[in-house]
Symmetry: C2
């Protein structure tokens, strides 16, 4: 069965969430959004490309920071309304310079910061 | 700093995406949605509780199927608009009876099913 980005289920804004994961460590790096064109560009170029909701523009991850994501494999969930991108992440994925955006844990009713920005 | 579910950023429908991950294998199991009350219930009970958009009701994962998710740790991302729940998953997370909902890969322009339903 051939893959067509139009076959995915997008929300009212034409977007689908995409989780980025390091397939070697298993670490969940970030979650961002794609539209159908971003999905197509990601597959065509091998460079993970999101849709920036704040800038209303394509966001080739790492284009300005150098912290690129090379696509290893794109996966689709059972409902076709969420994507999982296995990626080779160059440096930090997070704009705070941490490897993962999920660096805050809820423990004993409080928040704990798990990692420091990368040097 | 104490954690308040109201401090998270919810979308126009009052929902926040939550990624469920097996912290031992690293496998991303599923993504579903929570509202502030579902976040609070998840933390209070240790049973991962989503908001079912299709049923417009709380969804205590596994309540009918037995495929419960016990919360190991809840994490918040840098923008406070996405959650990562580390969970002990009983059996399959997916309604298709697969361990993970992300069982379809896009390879060479086509779709490949990576796993069979659990016995």
């Amino acid at each position: 069965m051939s893959f067509d980005p139009a076959s995915l289920k997008y929300d009212a804004n034409g977007l689908i969430p995409c989780i980025a994961q390091d397939p070697v460590s298993g670490e969940v790096l970030m979650m961002a959004w794609m539209n159908a064109e971003a999905v197509a560009r990601t597959l065509e170029t091998g460079r993970v490309t999101y849709w920036s909701r704040s800038r209303a523009a394509f966001w080739v991850k790492g284009e300005t920071s150098g912290h690129v994501q090379r696509l290893v494999e794109l996966r689709v969930d059972c409902d076709r309304d969420c994507l999982l991108a296995l990626v080779e992440q160059e440096g930090p994925a997070c704009h705070t310079n941490r490897r993962s955006c999920f660096y805050t844990a809820v423990r004993d009713g409080g928040e704990v910061v798990l990692s420091a920005p990368m040097a």
